[in-house]
Structures are given as C-alpha cells and as structure tokens.
C-alpha cells in the first residue's frame, strides 16, 4: 500500500478532458480518504503506469506544457506519485514544465550537422523574425531534405511541412534491383488491399505454415544481424525469446531512430508501413509473444499516422487480434510515441520509457530476451532489421546470402546526406565500397573533405577511404562503423570544428544523466571542444584529457551513448580535421 499526496493545484476542464481521453476507466478500487490522500496500491500503479507517456503527450498538446494542475490529474488518474510525473515529464524535450506564455505552435529546427550546413541557422532566424516560436532541435531525421523542420502543434496536429512538399520517398534506385526498398512507391501506403496486391502478407501466411522453429532457423541461417548499429544476430535473439515460457512476452519495433543522419526507418514507416507491421507480426508469432509494441519517435507524425492506419487495417482484416490470420494465435500491437530523447533508442531505455519511467538505460545483464519490457522476455528490433525477414522467408536463407559477403550477408540501407548530389535512402549489398555508394548518390558536391560514418555515435573517415568495403567486418577493421547506415558527406567548405563542437554538444544534451562518466564526461568533452574552437589549437595536456575522458566514458558508462560519445572527436583529431596539438 502506498499513499499519494497530491498538491492543491486543480486541473482545468480542458486539461481533464485531454488527459481522460487517453486514460481508460480503471476497474480497480480507489480509497479516497480525503481530497489530498488517496489510497490506490502499488500493483495498480504498476499496471497502468505505461499510460503516463500518452497522458503527458495529451496534456502537452492541449495546453502547451505540463502544468501542475494537469500533472496532478495525471498523478491521480494513474496513481503515479506527482514527483515522479514531474521527473518523467522533465526528462523529455517535447514536454515543457514551465508555462510557455504563448499559445502558438512551436517550430523545431534541426541544428545537427546536415541541417547546419544546409542553412538551419538562417532558417531559424527568419522564422523567428516572422514571429514564429523556434526551438533548436537535435536531428529530426529528415537529413535528405535539410534543413529539417517539425511543427509541434498547439490547437493543430503536429506536422512536418516537408511531408506535403515532398510526398514521394527519396529513393533514386531501380526498385527491381532492391529487396528491402522494392515495395516503396509501388503501393498506396494507406491501403491494405493495395499492399496485398503486390504480395503483401504472403510472408505472414508462409511463416504460419512453416512454424516458429523453421522461421527461426531461416533467420539464423540467413546471418541477419541487427541494423541499428550493434549487429546482434537476429536469429539468436528470437530463439532466446521463443525459448522462454510461463511469462508474457513482447516484441518491439524500435522506431525511435534519432541517430543524427538517420532517416531510413522513417521512410520505411511512411512508405512501407504494412511491411513493418507484417514483419513485427511474424516476429510475434515466431517468438510466441502476444504483445507487440511500436515505439515511434515523437517527431515523426506522418510515420505515426501511416503505422496507425496499417495497424487498424490489419486488425480489421483479422491480421492482428485474437486469431492472427487463422493461425489460432493471439497478437496485437500498441503504438507509443517518444517525446524527444535520443537515449530512448537504447533498448533498455526504451523499455523504461514505455513503462512510464524516465528513459534511463539499465545494466545488461540481464538481457532483454529474459528481462525486457516489464522485466519480461522481449525481442526488440528496428524496422530495417524486421523487414529483412520478408525476403529471407520469400527466397530462403541461401538466396538471401547470395548478396553481401560471407560475414555480412544481405543488403543494408544507407542514409546519404550532406554534400552529395542526391541525398536520400539507398540500399546496397554489403561489400559495396564507400566510393561506389557516393557515386550512386550522384557524387560529392565540391571537394570531398570528410565523411561521418554511422552518425554522431560513429566516426569520421577521410577521402582516402573510398575503397573501403561497406561491411561490418571491414569497417570494424578500419576503425570505423556502419552504425545505423549514416553516410554524411562534408566538402572542404565546411567548418569541421563547428561540426565536431556540435556533436559534442549533442551528446551533452542527450545524456540521460544517470551515470557519472557520461553525465559529466560529455559536458567536459564539450567544454574542451569549445575551448578548441575559440583558441584554434589544443595544448598537449588538453589532448591527453580528451583521451583520458574517452577511455573512461567508453569503459565505465552504463550504455552505448557514453561508450560512443567520443568516437567522432577522436577520429576528427586523428584525421587532422580539427586543430592538432600546439
């Protein structure tokens, strides 16, 4: 039993209506001892806490901030302590906990590298001069159409202006040559019938016919590994969850892509949403999980709309629900919107976020396959990884391995941005060289100076890396990474010090703050980079400090954010992109 002490600030009628719209009536008992003392119980609290994030979204959208009265109403309805509601709300960039003092929508403008070199600063100034409310945002996942803008709506839905300006996907390859992007542009992403018309949902039927063991065997034999950067073998992950019995299980599509330079999963969700839903359904039936979750970053309104549409259509057609496609198995999907936190793309932070806690990563072990969402067995994959299952099932593992290399089978999506002629989403077989990839994107505009591989968490390579085969093994050997498939190109007009300072600022802002090496290390690293940008060179002891910090962040941080926060800086120094020692 636990008691909540709720302060006297009351919610307004509109706040109550907004919050109540997303919180269903509870069937458990509340003992109201006084206006301020309500007994609800710990079990009740944990049961409904996953509604906290949707409730905060509703309140923020309705009144433009998380007010004390509105927060109290959420606390009361969900029986979450008010201090914890505040702790969660104040964690996310899209929620503000002070009164904005205006009623306008807010224009988020990306200030990360690709948008920075495409005139984001000037756009922000112009927007402000025209009376707009501007919020400097980390990467918005629209690097192919930089500078990126996201409108956080007030009295109107959230919107991305470019979604109407550029309705078709930024894909410049022949779909016949592709296996992941092959459906894009070939069906109406709002129509299940259209999707079925091009063979959609045939692989779900095949997976049901094959049975879980055969599906897992095919995925394992294909050599498919996670496409988010960590490259964990998908078959092993699925087997791990499938083998768990006696507890509820979950499969999650991690659609929180926030790595600067990454927009692949957004394109998949916007233009091939049914494939993502079908593949997640296959994952659920294969691992024996009845609960599917799709966690989409909050800045992707069109992707959210299309995914919701696909789920609704699939459910109406019996492809989700109590008897999925006649299999006799139950599986359904809940959608959750993130609220502006890079760290929530880290799988354990994502669990915490869904559960209604601050998006703070947990130590591993225990691993998600045994202790994931709600501490229950969970398989979590991103959309790109998931849709690889479709060609694997369609053509078999051997055919799948026909592309790529022995240790990196198949194809990979790449997000090309920055100084390239045709920024966009590309699919290449593993083993394609960096130079070939750039050539397919129309080549570099201007004189190539540096390429950021894998995003802010990746590293820079120089013009001499054109022959680097894009495989997991070759990039690792070369001391860089494919990461989430970012290839961000910089020509010799770009101020690389400015880019690197911004990357360090990004990590400083996005660290969850939980562990000391990352919380303080990212700040100190940013400070040293600012000092470098002001002085032009680094004294020897400063170079030593950068190395010392990198080693400690990489060794002692809890999660991948801290582990990778110094990679770009280190590589920029090694390549001589930013001021060397004085």
């Amino acid at each position: 039993m636990s008691d909540l002490f709720i302060s006297e600030e009351a919610a307004t009628a509109e706040e109550v209506a907004a919050v109540d719209a997303v919180i269903p009536e509870a069937d458990s008992v509340l003992i109201i001892e006084s206006e301020r003392l309500v007994r609800g119980g710990q079990a009740r609290r944990n049961e409904r806490r996953h509604l906290l994030l949707p409730a905060l979204h509703a309140l923020q959208h309705e009144i433009g901030w998380i007010s004390p009265g509105g927060s109290n109403h959420i606390a009361y309805r969900l029986q979450v302590p008010p201090a914890e509601v505040f702790g969660v709300a104040s964690f996310y960039e899209l929620f503000r906990t002070d009164d904005p003092g205006h009623t306008q929508s807010v224009t988020h403008i990306c200030v990360d590298p690709a948008c920075r070199i495409a005139g984001a600063t000037a756009l922000a100034e112009a927007t402000e001069a025209a009376g707009g409310k501007v919020h400097a945002s980390p990467c918005l996942g629209q690097c192919e159409r930089a500078p990126a803008v996201f409108i956080q709506g007030r009295g109107e839905p959230d919107a991305v202006p470019a979604d109407t300006e550029h309705p078709s996907a930024p894909i410049h390859q022949d779909p016949d040559d592709l296996q992941l992007l092959t459906r894009i542009g070939r069906y109406d992403p709002t129509s299940l019938d259209d999707y079925r018309g091009i063979g959609g949902y045939a692989m779900l039927a095949k997976a049901i016919e094959m049975g879980p063991d055969a599906v897992i065997a095919a995925v394992t034999d294909s050599g498919l590994s996670g496409r988010g950067g960590a490259a964990f073998p998908t078959g092993i992950k699925w087997r791990g969850v499938a083998d768990q019995t006696g507890r509820p299980k979950h499969v999650i599509a991690n659609c929180d892509e926030s790595e600067p330079g990454t927009f692949k999963d957004r394109i998949l969700m916007e233009h091939d949403p049914f494939a993502v839903v079908e593949a997640l359904t296959i994952a659920g039936l294969t691992t024996g999980a009845e609960n599917g979750w799709l966690y989409i970053r909050g800045e992707y309104p069109l992707a959210t709309e299309r995914i919701n549409g696909a789920i609704d259509a699939a459910r109406a057609a019996g492809l989700l629900g109590d008897d999925v496609a006649g299999s006799g198995k139950r599986f359904d999907i809940d959608v959750r919107r993130g609220a502006g936190a890079y760290i929530c793309g880290e799988e354990t932070a994502l669990f915490a976020s869904i559960e209604g806690y601050r998006g703070e990563p947990r130590n591993k072990p225990p691993f998600p396959t045994t202790h994931g969402l709600f501490s229950e067995p969970t398989a979590i994959n991103n959309p790109e990884t998931l849709i690889n299952v479709l060609p694997i099932l369609e053509h078999g593992a051997d055919a799948y391995r026909g592309k790529g290399t022995d240790r990196s089978p198949g194809t990979k999506l790449y997000c090309l941005s920055g100084n390239v002629a045709q920024p966009g989403l590309y699919e290449f077989a593993f083993g394609t060289t960096l130079g070939e990839a750039l050539a397919d994107a129309g080549g570099v505009t201007g004189n190539l100076h540096a390429i950021l591989m894998g995003g802010a968490a990746g590293s820079f390579v120089g013009p001499d890396a054109m022959d680097l085969p894009l495989t997991l093994e070759d990039t690792r050997e070369a001391g860089t990474t494919l990461g989430s498939g970012v290839i961000m190109v910089f020509n010799d007009t770009v101020d690389m010090t400015d880019v690197v300072v911004r990357i360090t600022e990004f990590f400083r802002n996005e660290s969850c703050g939980q562990c000391v090496p990352c919380r303080v290390g990212t700040v100190r690293q940013h400070e040293v980079m600012v000092e470098l940008s002001e002085k032009g060179t680094l004294a020897a002891e400063r170079s030593q400090l950068i190395d010392d910090m990198a080693l400690a962040m990489g060794d002692a941080s809890i999660c991948g954010l801290g582990h990778t926060a110094s990679g770009a800086v280190q590589s920029a120094i090694n390549l001589g992109l930013i001021g060397g020692s004085s």
């Binding site: 201090a83 702790g87 130590n363």
Partner: protein, 297 residues
C-alpha cells in the same frame, strides 16, 4: 540485503549454491546471487562505492566500483553484477584505476565535495585531479549553475551543489524504504537534479520527514538542520561528539537510535544500517523527536 560471503581462505563453503570466482588472482567463494562486490569484501579488497548501500537496491550509477571482468568489452559495476562461476576479475588493473580516477575527477570538478570525506580520500588514492577541467571556454557552458541551499523547515536542509546524483535519497524515499515518493530525479543529463514536483517546498510535498534520505546521503547535500546550523556557526565538532545507542521510546517497534551528542546536547539521530528492525530507517518521531531531551525547562 547482500548475503554474507566467505573466502576460500576460511572454512570451505559447503553449500551447493556457492560460486567461486577469481579476484586479482585469488579464488573467492560467495553464495549464489552474491555480487562481485561481495566477493571483493570477502577477499579483503577495499572497493570505493558512492551510490551503493547495504540497505538499498543497487542502481550502479556512480560507476566508481567498476572492475574488469575477463570476456567483457567494458568494465562492469561490481556492486550489482552477480558473481558467476569461473569469472576472472581484476580490481586494480590500469583500466580500472583509470576509470575510478576519472569518475572521482569528474565528480570533483562538478560537485562540492567539501563535506564528502570518503569520496575525496578515494580521489586522493587514485590520483584524481579535478583542477585540470578548468577551461578558458565561455563560462555560459559550465556544467551547473550554483544553487541556493534549500532551507524550508527546521528539520533538514538540501544543498544540491553537493549532490552527486547517487539516487540514494530517491530510493530511500521510494521503493527501498519509505514508499513516500516525495522526490525523484528530474531534468536530464547535466541538468538532472533531485526534485519534488515542480520544485515545491518540502512542507508542500509528500515528504513525511522520516529523514531516511538524509541518513543515506554520502556528501552532506542532505543535512540535518541541527548540523547545518552548527556548521554555519563554525561549531560542528564530530571529534568531540559521543554516540549513545538506545531504543526509541515512542512505540513498541523497538528501533535502535544512535544519539550523537555534542556539548551535552543531542545534535543528530541515526540508526544502524545493519539493525534488524530499522535497516537504518526511522520515522519522524524517532529521527527528530528528541528536542524534549535537550529542553532545559
């Protein structure tokens, strides 16, 4: 609570559920479920900890207790990682010493550790030099702006310039002891802080003044008002204090009290962490209800 550990130097561990690991070259047995930290303790190896406490669930956020475990890419927190049969652990390798030093340096550069003697001593042990972080960069990007000490009642104060964000107070207020949930971590990254909802004052919050947060604070960021006032007057003299153990007289639970006495006046009240009744926790009466003893009337 952590289970007691034994070394292989003592009596052999007959339980089937013991696991044996190697710590700095010596075999150490701990009961299954025991942590690497338990094994270090059993082997007589002193390990720095900040966010760890015997009476709290490990949150492993400070990272000062990290050790090197063979086969692990990164260092692991000894306070929370269960010992597994055959693990090979190094507690004093170059990597371990470096990360411990850096954590202590980072904290020293970011937090007022003037009343956190144990942390500063470990800093000296590992050669931490917080002064090397002073940069000539624009001060507007400094990590944290100084905060005023929050003095909102007569029982305890909060000085968040001294806070290392170890989460102990949040745990003691929440699931690990009091279940009051008056405070939580708020904000993100270097702006993260311990806060009530919307930073309301403690009397306006859910706080029940058990003082269990104060008891677990490792840096004196949370401080009894009695100590705070004496420090302000330059009259806080731990070396002149005696500690008298007694049993709380308010109810029948039987909580042990440790009365810290200076100049014949009680200046603070604690309870032993290992006491079977309190596990170090008290209620407002046991913690603060001693003023009548000091009354001269």
């Amino acid at each position: 609570m952590t289970a007691p550990a034994s070394t292989n130097g003592g009596a052999p561990q007959p339980s089937e559920t013991a696991v044996t690991i190697s710590v700095d070259g010596s075999d150490v047995s701990v009961p299954e479920g025991g942590t690497i930290l338990d094994a270090c303790k059993a082997a007589g190896i002193d390990t720095p900890t900040i966010c760890y406490a015997d009476n709290l669930t490990p949150v492993n956020v400070c990272r000062v207790c990290v050790v090197e475990v063979e086969g692990n890419r990164t260092l692991v927190p000894s306070c929370s990682r269960p010992a597994e049969e055959g693990m090979v652990v190094s507690t004093d390798s170059d990597r371990v010493r470096h990360s411990r030093k850096m954590v202590l340096e980072f904290l020293g550069s970011d937090v007022d550790l003037s009343e956190a003697d144990e942390i500063t001593q470990w800093g000296e042990h590992y050669g931490a030099d917080p002064s090397r972080y002073v940069t000539e960069a624009d001060s507007s990007i400094a990590a944290r702006a100084p905060q005023e000490v929050k003095v909102q009642d007569n029982l305890y104060i909060r000085d968040y310039d001294k806070c290392v964000l170890c989460y102990k107070c949040v745990e003691a207020c929440g699931d690990d002891a009091q279940h009051t949930f008056a405070i939580a971590v708020a904000g993100r990254g270097s702006d993260a802080t311990i806060s009530t909802e919307f930073d309301v004052t403690l009397p306006d919050s859910a706080c029940v003044y058990c003082g269990n947060c104060v008891a677990v604070c490792p840096t004196n960021a949370l401080q009894f008002k009695s100590e705070f006032d004496l420090r302000a007057a330059g009259d806080w003299r731990p070396e002149d204090q005696t500690v008298t153990t007694t049993i709380c007289s308010y109810c029948g639970v039987g909580c042990n009290l440790e009365l810290h006495v200076q100049d014949n006046e009680i200046v603070k009240c604690t309870s032993p962490d290992d006491h079977s009744v309190t596990m170090g926790n008290l209620c407002i009466k046991g913690r603060f209800g001693y003023q009548y003893v000091n009354s001269r009337k």
